[in-house]
Amino acid sequence: MSRRNGEAAEAEDAADADDADDAEDGANSQFADPSERREGLTGPGPDDRPRPAERRSKQGVRIDPEAEASHPARRTTISALVKHEPGVLAEVAGLVSRRQFDIDSLTVGPTTNPETARMTLTIEEPEPGVRQVEKQLEKLVPVISVRELGRDAVRRELAVLKVHDDRPAAVESVVEMFDGEVLDAQPGTVTVEVTGSSAEVDRAVEAFQRFGVRELTRTGTAALARGNEWTTHAEEERYERQRIDPRTNRATDQSTTETAPGAPTDDD
């Protein structure tokens, strides 16, 4: 090894080191005299010093130490208006998985504005988590506006089920019960469609189980705010701006022209 123990080791003169030390509150002045040894770290140990009695929950919320910390997860719907451009879905999906958000479904589709798309996320998170989902989504550059929908929002989900056709009449009556539709009937299988709230679809799927569900696909929830309320904050503005320009027959939105360089920009 390259440990050097040559001439410098013999040098008695530690003056330079001392000079350097003096300004350090004399903290290192023991180097003038090696025998004047300094202690390592000192002070009362962990058991001999005051410790706070209070506590936070795992979510970082201050809690009464006596009470049990509880932030129950709740199921809710988040709507995000996004730019309709490649990579947005991957970006949102990546965010959700990377941040370990607990999501039940994510749907994406067009809106009234050709330059935007809507993503609807159904999530199950405690309150701090819901706010995180919102804020982290808002940070993504292609995301325009995000909002948690109220409990009264209009929510819809579609399921297509393929069941065995042993009892066609019974299948038919379950279809009727859930306001569904038979899409296809063949020897061997009946394919039906059911739409409704997520819970209704759950109940329908449950009901069809008795026939033996051979295959199943569900869309996840699509949702809009109820009545005059806009689904996200940017919606109204976007709606106004996407009105068709009669001269060009094109959307007149300016703020998203980066995704559609051909769109006219002279009329705002």
Partner: protein, 603 residues
């Protein structure tokens, strides 16, 4: 190399001159050459006043390099030995200047080599831009030679990334990438440039000043929230200001200083916040967290009101969140709304620029203090308590003269031997902690380290970036023997560019931080942490064209460091330190800050 000549020769005034020519190739006295997408990319950098670019050449990025060489007033280029180093150099450049550091790499391995540096910039919210070459669009998706889905790979570690497949959009896209990287909470952006787009002719140039709307956020926090926060702060009996890296990034150190002085409150920093308040300031308890000072950890554990500014409450700071400032009403100021209540619930959320928000709270408190006639020594007992903790838990170390040199001593001597505005960069490991603990930082942007990602090998390339950013300042890099070996090849760059930097290798012949944890938590089993053999760093330095030094006695420390600092060019000091030395105080991960251990026995 002509690039090098430009790096060295560019007078600072010239750099400061406003540039109105965002299309350098269209200057009057020269025949206008047709511009390409690559020219547009460089013009965008020029228009954004980017002066230096760090990178490595390669097939897919060659047109951009060619455009860089052709650009009249474009940035100069530092050719790095490895793309990871290009990324770290750009990152450090961004930390020191506060403006985006830019790096370039080719497709495939060039881009993947950048990944560590991008992730590092992302974790530490550093202004940073990467331009990567990409295979021509017609080959995309075919697993072409050196094709990697760079946008896919870097999506989770960038603030935003772009695939610029249209020559007409390259200028605007690069403009946006640079703008976005430095705006709001800074962070890395990346533009992937396929070779067909960079070689296609275009007359579309840069579009400076474009920002996505979300990042156009107001500087000031909501007035009502400020009012409530100020009220909480005024009510507090044991207030503490916690200054994070955001204070440095927002250049809010003067506002912070004014606040601390006006209300005479104890102030603690996070590791990235080091230097946001002078560490020798009467009220500064230095930094808190895993290896922070006893006083800082006691203060944040016992405070009843924590005014936290520009921090993301990383777990190395908080320890177990259950025991973090558990009795504190938390006022959290941050420019990024998503940080509010992410890890620690904010009782008062102040979303805005750190400098603006500190002033807002300051003003509110001023008027309150007058109204309530609150006496200025309202927190006298608390201040006294913090002072006692400081006295009780000094940052001392045993340094018997007949034993190997203590690393802490090397750090202290280096601090004394350098000007106050010297820049310290580090690798990751014990040496990083000693450099943070035993150097007294007095100004922001002097401490340049890899915090959130903890990237070994960060120190030397960061020193290169820092020196290019601040050629007149002393740059000292503390490295560990293990960490240094991860990017040691960059000595060739420091030598070629004749950068006057000093690398001090705190050589304990082990990856010491791991060894320390093995002693503490793995019953002393030193698996893959101790080297049977370590190369000699002095001849390594010399072989790279740097000056090499070795020291292993207390008597040599000051002289050797002086000689290394005096040497005009890159130098490396192999400081052979006590291999048994450990970093304390220590809060074990997930532990309680107030329970910091002063030695292994207390863990």
């Amino acid at each position: 190399m002509s690039e090098r000549a430009r790096t060295a020769a560019r007078p600072t005034e010239e750099a400061a001159e406003p540039r109105d020519d965002d299309r350098p190739e269209s200057s009057d006295d020269q025949p206008a050459e047709p511009a390409t997408g690559a020219d547009a990319a460089i013009a965008a950098l020029t228009a954004a006043d980017v002066e230096h670019v760090f990178g490595v050449q390669g097939g897919a990025i060659m047109p951009v390099y060619d455009a860089l060489a052709n650009a009249e007033a474009g940035p100069s280029h530092v050719t790095m030995a490895h793309e990871q180093a290009a990324a770290h150099a750009a990152d450090a450049y961004g930390q020191v200047t506060g403006t985006p550091g830019v790096c370039m790499a080719t497709s495939g391995p060039g881009a993947t080599n950048l990944v560590t540096g991008i992730a590092d910039a992302d974790m530490d919210s550093d202004p940073f831009v990467a331009l990567t070459g990409q295979v021509p669009t017609e080959f995309l998706g075919n697993d072409a030679f050196q094709e990697t889905d760079t946008v896919g790979v870097t999506r989770p570690i960038t603030k935003e990334n772009y695939f610029a497949g249209d020559a007409d959009r390259i200028g605007a896209t690069v403009s946006e990438a640079v703008e976005l990287a430095g705006t709001g909470r800074p962070g890395p952006t990346l533009v992937d440039l396929p070779k067909d787009a960079t070689t296609t002719e275009t007359d579309a140039g840069p579009e400076p000043g474009r920002l996505p709307t979300y990042y156009d956020a107001p500087e000031k926090a909501d007035e009502a929230a400020v009012e409530a926060a100020a009220e909480a702060f005024a009510r507090a009996e044991r207030p503490v200001v916690l200054a994070g890296g955001g204070v440095v990034k927002a250049d809010a150190a003067p506002e912070l200083r004014a606040f601390v002085d006006a209300f005479d409150v104890p102030v603690v920093t996070t590791m990235p916040g080091i230097g946001s308040v002078p560490e020798d300031h009467e009220r500064c308890l230095s930094w808190a967290g895993m290896h922070g000072t006893g006083a800082a950890n006691m203060a944040i554990s016992h405070t009843d009101c924590l005014f936290a500014i520009g921090t993301r409450f990383d777990d190395r700071l908080t320890g177990g969140v259950e025991t973090f400032a558990p009795g504190a009403e938390v006022i959290h100021a941050d420019i990024d709304a998503a940080e509010i209540s992410k890890n620690v619930e904010a009782d008062h959320a102040l979303v805005g620029d750190a400098a603006a928000v500190i002033e807002q709270v300051h003003e509110k408190l001023d008027s309150r203090v007058e109204a309530a006639d609150t006496s200025s020594d309202r927190h006298a007992d608390w201040r006294e308590q913090c002072r006692e903790w400081e006295a009780e838990y000094p940052m001392t170390y045993a340094a018997p003269k007949d034993e190997p040199v203590k690393p802490q001593f090397v750090v202290e001597v280096a601090d004394e031997a350098t000007p106050d505005d010297a820049i310290v960069t580090t690798g990751v490991g014990q040496h990083q902690m000693w450099a943070a603990q035993y150097w007294t930082y007095r100004d922001p942007r002097c401490w340049v380290s890899s915090h959130g990602l903890g990237t070994m090998g960060y120190g030397l390339p960061a020193a290169i970036g820092a020196k290019v950013a601040a050629p007149d300042r002393e740059v000292v890099c503390f490295e560990g023997d293990g960490s240094f070996l991860m990017t040691v090849q960059e000595l060739s760059v420091a030598a070629r560019e004749n950068l006057d930097i000093t690398v001090v290798v705190l050589n304990n012949e082990a990856i010491g931080m791991v060894r320390q944890w093995q002693d503490a938590f793995f019953e002393g089993r030193h698996t893959a942490s101790e080297y049977g053999w370590v190369p000699e760093f002095e001849p390594i330095a010399e072989a790279f064209g740097a000056k090499g030094f070795t020291l292993d006695h207390y008597d040599e420390v000051a002289d050797t460091l002086e000689a290394a600092f005096d040497y005009d060019g890159p130098s490396v000091v192999d400081a052979q330190i006590d291999p048994r030395e450990n970093v304390y105080p220590m809060v074990p991960s997930g532990g309680d800050n107030s329970g910091f251990a002063l030695s292994e026995e207390q863990l």
